[in-house]
Symmetry: C2
Subunit: 344 residues, 2 copies
DNA sequence: ATGAGAACTGTAAACGTTTACAGTGGGGGG
DNA sequence: CCCCCCACTGTAAACGTTTACAGTTCTCAT
């Protein structure tokens, strides 16, 4: 009852040709028509399927690309995944997904995996950029594209959002609709996005000539509870609640909406709320959420494109010194009811 | 400037031992301590990393598992993915994700991939079960677990939801809160979930002794627009709008909420709304959405478990005739504001 | 019919491992 | 002091392909 899996040799014998001919048939190389037919017939009859592993061993390609993020459930990373997958697939690559939980150790492990030849390339969006990670990036055994920011000089292609402009867009919008006391609820400052958004908020306020009231700044996680909790704290401000809330992502904004609603404050009449990332949640919440679109989908698409360039180009996998490319995706403010209250 | 990637042979020469010893060092087999140290030192120095492809060729394992769904962006599948990944990872498997767009051809292609040895196993959630697909399932070259229903006798482990009970829970709840004219907005009838939910709705109504008014049944896609459009049609019913709406998934329900709000109807006072799948959207919408949890997360977890059983067990990969296991996950009604209006 | 050349085919080596089997050497019991 | 056994190590074959090279068979012009 042992059913031996047929190999190229099995087929060669059955068809009375050499293994080279069988190989050629399956690689579309020139073969006499009668030979091809015989081989295909036997392959069909015996249920032969070429072994991709053996092929990889010779060709040194796996036709796989890895995608590593903190949590694939995060709508931002999901949006990237949805764009990356079809682009790679069109070029015949399969996608291996790694949810690292944000652990730099695991991220480095994934980078190592490139050396093991698990994948031909990697798109990674590290949430914390440690020196170890940078070291591993520099020595990666296959092309890597980073979604996010890396220090200048890092020899790696990268696609970044422009938080600074994004925050500025949001602040300008809030000022435009007449808000003056603007609160800010952010995620952890030791993450790249957290740190960026903090700096951008302060710069943006300075640009607008508004002092930052530390009593109106709250820092927590990029989670809904942080929004709820931050809003509670800001509402208790001695000078009364702020008239606008800038939240470092949509989840935080949703949490803030919960608190505001519970406190009986009207959005946007009493407090305008702006989120960031423009995830699908923004369109679903009530009121619908004005949000800064940082272009996750586009970042995913661009990253996949950059990676494919390297993958298609001959071996010079790692960017030759100085040839690392940086793409910056422009942010866009998507105005909804939580700041204008009109249409819903 | 060619930097030859070191192989087991390179290390063997550098350390003055045989390749067998190097191999043993990296596989934790008994080796004299001094040997081990020398090998590890050279490996470190030369940056040797074992080649997983070559290893796979010998061992006939890839340490990869594939997960194939229609659209990985769908919250239901995403919930599965989030559970599957850590379970498999704990056993050392990487996850290859396939978004098939619901094309049976692509699904069959993924099944074929098992024969090519792309992966050691597969979790698949086909949205349409065609005869071809069943054939491919029966002949899969590696263990497969189906999330969803397959005809009895199909030699494949599967994990299914219990739509019937789920719908019954929803109907009973709606009846309990005094609703009598219950509308139903469903997805395509030629998909497994669509067909199941339709049957369940009709059975459930029959059980409750309520006739089904076809004017209160709408069929479209599993999309938000279908909900909006279905609600519009049902509102125009000659006897007036229904007092409750059962929607075949949360997206449909959200669309319905949009329409109801636009029409000035109050939810749940005028119309109660129930969704299905209990995705994160349900908790975010306004009013928050009562939804039938069909246990996607648990289905994912169970599926991963079943697959691991097969993967760990010796070669009898395919279930021996009749040993296919079926797990049914119990549904649960999550009551929120869209039917009780209380807490929000 | 013959030869040149094209078109195809076969042989064998290589890809980087794992592992059965056959050494090799040293330590301890007799 | 010898021998046996054990622990370790080395040799070589195998995994299933691709491909350089050499060999074979055609085709066609002469």
């Amino acid at each position: 009852m042992a059913k031996p899996v047929p190999t190229i040799t099995t087929i060669a014998e059955a068809a009375g040709v050499s293994i080279a001919s069988v190989s050629r048939v399956f690689n579309g190389q020139p073969v006499r028509d009668s030979t091809r037919r015989r081989v295909l017939a036997e392959a069909e009859r015996l249920g032969y399927v070429p072994n991709a592993v053996a092929r990889s061993l010779k060709s040194n390609r796996t036709d796989q690309v890895a995608f590593a993020v903190e949590d694939i459930g995060n709508p931002v990373y999901l949006a990237m995944l949805r764009e990356i997958q079809p682009v790679l697939r069109a070029d015949g690559f399969r996608l291996v997904v790694h949810s690292t939980g944000g652990d730099p150790g695991e991220e480095i492990e994934v980078l190592r995996g490139l050396g093991r030849r698990h994948a031909d390339g990697l798109v990674i969006s590290p949430i914390r950029v440690t020196p170890d990670l940078l070291g591993a990036l520099a020595q990666a055994a296959a092309p890597v594209v980073v979604i996010g920011s890396v220090p200048p000089g890092t020899p790696v292609d990268n696609v970044r959002a422009d938080s600074r402009t994004g925050v500025r867009l949001a602040l300008r919008h809030l000022l435009d609709i007449g808000r003056r006391r603007i609160g800010f609820v952010n995620g952890p400052l030791d993450t790249v996005p957290g740190e960026r958004r903090d700096a951008a908020f302060r710069d943006g306020m300075a640009e607008a000539g508004r002092p930052v009231d530390e009593g109106l700044v709250h820092v927590g996680g990029f989670r809904r509870e942080t929004g709820a909790e931050g809003a509670r704290r800001l509402l208790a401000h001695p000078h009364g609640p702020p008239d606008a809330l800038l939240c470092a992502n949509d989840l935080i904004a949703l949490g803030a909406l919960d608190t505001l609603r519970a406190a009986g404050l009207r959005v946007p009449d009493d407090v305008a709320v702006v989120g960031m990332d423009d995830t699908e949640l923004a369109a679903v919440s009530w009121p619908t959420l004005t949000s800064v679109c940082l272009g996750s989908a586009e970042r995913g698409r661009r990253a996949a494109g950059l990676l494919l360039d390297r993958l298609r180009g001959a071996p010079p996998a790692a960017p030759a010194a100085g040839s690392a490319r940086t793409v910056t995706v422009a942010p866009r403010l998507v105005v909804r009811a939580s700041t204008t209250g009109g249409d819903q």
